[in-house]
């Protein structure tokens, strides 16, 4: 970007139908958008983001505005407060816009979360925590329950369960 040029504005429309104006300096960090900025600005287009909502885009923009050292701090804050869903939204958005550093940082954070989840005693707790449902056949579910009764905590059962080939 040449400093002589006036900073341009890139417009986005989020999934919840809000229009966002983002400075070019930030927008160029979106790898997906980068190459089309010239065209978009010249023609006054709005870029639709069908799977990014306003709240998430705001977070992504905030991230991109920060310098590397401040990002650490921002991430730390978000890490402590953000429930899973916020992180997932952020990750989906970062992936869609291709902000590599953000993808990396959020992935790291989510894996930390999954490690914690893995320590829960029952697989149903795990599923509840990450808000997904089991889609195993009932006999597999029953097997898992039986194993847990005899062997104790879930995480110990699983190795046996996995190597037993029940799920193949």
């Amino acid at each position: 970007m040449s400093s002589s040029k006036k900073s341009r504005i890139v417009k986005f429309k989020t999934s919840d139908d809000k229009t966002f104006e983002v400075e070019e300096a930030v927008a160029v960090q979106f790898e997906t958008i980068k190459s089309m900025i010239d065209y978009v600005c010249a023609n006054d287009c709005t870029i639709p983001l069908p799977n990014v909502n306003a709240k998430t885009l705001a977070m992504v923009v905030e991230w991109c505005k920060k310098h590397a050292d401040e990002r650490d701090q921002l991430m730390e804050v978000d890490v402590d407060e953000a429930p899973g869903a916020v992180l997932y939204d952020l990750l989906v958005a970062a992936t869609y816009l291709r902000v590599e550093d953000l993808i990396h940082r959020v992935s790291q954070r989510v894996s930390k979360m999954v490690i914690e989840i893995g320590k829960l005693p029952e697989e149903e707790d795990v599923r509840k925590t990450i808000n997904i449902k089991s889609d195993f056949p009932p006999q597999v579910e029953e097997e898992l329950r039986k194993l847990r009764r005899t062997l104790g905590p879930l995480s110990d059962v699983l190795v046996l369960f996995v190597s037993s080939g029940l799920l193949e």
Partner: protein, 483 residues
């Protein structure tokens, strides 16, 4: 709009920061069980399954071994992701930690079960303080090895599950571990016969020929990986009946049809001890009648044998032959290492700092212990402690800084165990080894049908009392404990 957005961000972040500062110093990661109880908009919005596949694989590949296994049992999507080749390669690229597997094995019988030791969990728990307290930890995580003669037949598998312990006649021995794969050898003559990945249960057979039954004496073998050609190879040293006094070396490249001879083994290994694999080379300590003890190495890439000298003082007369069983060899911190226990009051751990350079042998640790039995170093724990197996029956963590030991007795049906260090791999066996002559089988050791935990062999780790200090040890204390 922009105004709204700035207002939102400022408000949002400042609130977080103020809360954060209050909480700082307590815990950095909030327990997840709490995060969901919060009445958030989470119910209606994104779940972890909405993440793009490659991203989710990236996340899962960062998990420790145990969590990966947990994630396989959450739903079919996760299970598929963990079986994905991208997952396997990502997991491998993250340099997964060295895991410890215990294999119950005595002179007369061995188990078909490998017991995984969750070192993180066990050694992060403080030892019991009270001298009389016994803490028993059950090792529930097991992997199964295939049984000889029945790769796929159902009836044999039933035998397997009813008694996981087998007599020496019908169980495989473990040659060595390499990149997440184990090479298994037949009973009695130790002829290498199976390559398996215990984590995925996949295994393939090494072709046999009729001459395989006519070897004179046990076979010496090793299993390794060639980085340049991306091939796995098995080496065996055999005595043919027609030439009893000459050991022949044969190599099998995994995925090909047969063994091929690479000529005579030049160094007359004699009794080969302590098979140790490191970076494409397998090593043994040679024990021959006339020459001083030496390390014989075989490079799988070049298919060449070479000699590596032991630490300087091993040439002394008292180190020879009869004392060889008071030493051992292994890999410690990525270096070839030799443990010398020929002294009555201590043992030395030597490390070859620069691989292949005998002048780089360094005496890294001198550990005072009136044991009389052998400590075999396994690996460094996260906090710098050295994990060892003592007398094939106890796990020992030794802290070089504070000079104390923690002994955890391994309790099982069999009394002696071999410790196998293994880097788990999720790469499908066919992808890992390549080649045309592959017939991959999967172990299906059913654990259903009313089989209780007593049906399979269970190991416990028993820890008692206070950790013992090395320097203040009274003589032979090791004997009175754990009994």
């Amino acid at each position: 709009m922009t105004f709204f957005f700035h207002y939102f961000i400022l408000n949002h972040l400042s609130r977080k920061i103020s809360r954060r500062s209050k909480r700082r110093g307590r815990r950095s990661v909030r327990p997840l069980s709490q995060t969901t109880k919060e009445p958030s908009a989470a119910a209606s919005c994104t779940t972890i399954l909405d993440l793009p596949g490659p991203i989710l694989i990236d996340i899962l590949s960062r998990l420790p071994f145990k969590s990966i296994l947990v994630s396989r049992c959450i739903c079919t999507t996760w299970r598929m992701l963990v079986s994905d080749p991208l997952f396997a390669s990502m997991h491998r690229s993250r340099a997964p930690a060295l895991e410890l597997l215990l294999h119950p094995k005595s002179v007369s019988c061995a188990s078909t079960t490998l017991h995984w030791v969750d070192l993180d969990c066990i050694f992060k728990t403080a030892p019991p303080v009270d001298r009389n307290e016994r803490r028993k930890t059950r090792l529930n995580s097991k992997f199964y090895l295939p049984l000889p003669g029945c790769n796929i037949e159902k009836k044999c598998l039933n035998v397997n599950t009813s008694s996981s312990r087998s007599s020496f006649m019908d169980c495989y021995g473990i040659v060595n571990s390499c990149n997440g794969l184990l090479c298994l050898s037949e009973p009695i003559y130790n002829n290498p016969h199976i390559i398996c990945n215990p984590v995925t249960g996949e295994h393939i057979s090494i072709p046999r020929s009729e001459e395989d039954d006519m070897f004179c004496g046990p076979v010496i073998s090793g299993f390794g990986y060639c980085r340049r050609s991306n091939k796995y190879k098995v080496l065996r040293l055999v005595c043919q009946p027609e030439n009893m006094y000459q050991t022949m070396a044969e190599v099998y490249t995994v995925g090909t049809a047969s063994w091929r001879s690479i000529g005579c083994e030049p160094f007359d290994l004699g009794l080969s001890l302590f098979t140790t694999y490191l970076n494409g080379v397998v090593h043994w300590v040679s024990d021959t009648a006339n020459s001083p003890a030496v390390i014989v190495a075989f490079n799988f890439e070049e298919e060449q044998f070479s000699l590596i000298s032991l630490p300087p003082h091993f040439g002394e007369t008292h180190k020879e032959k009869e004392n060889l069983h008071y030493m051992n060899m292994g890999v410690l911190g990525g270096c070839l290492s030799v443990c010398d226990a020929t002294f009555w009051d201590h043992f030395d751990i030597w490390v070859m700092k620069e691989y292949g350079d005998p002048t780089s042998w360094t005496k890294e640790h001198v550990i005072c212990a009136h044991s009389g039995c052998l400590h075999r170093p396994i690996k460094f724990l996260e906090n710098g402690d050295i994990l060892m197996i003592y007398n094939k029956a106890e796990l020992v963590a030794y802290s070089p800084v504070e000079g104390y030991f923690r002994y955890l007795k391994i309790d099982g049906v069999l009394a002696v165990f071999e410790a196998i260090t293994h880097v788990p791999s999720f790469v499908p066996l066919a992808d890992a080894v390549g080649g045309d002559h592959l017939n991959v089988h999967t172990i299906k050791a059913s654990c259903s049908e009313g089989e209780s935990s007593e049906g399979t062999e269970t190991l416990f780790l028993v820890e008692q009392g206070k950790p013992r200090s090395a320097s203040k040890s009274t003589s032979f204390w090791a004997v009175d404990d754990g009994e």
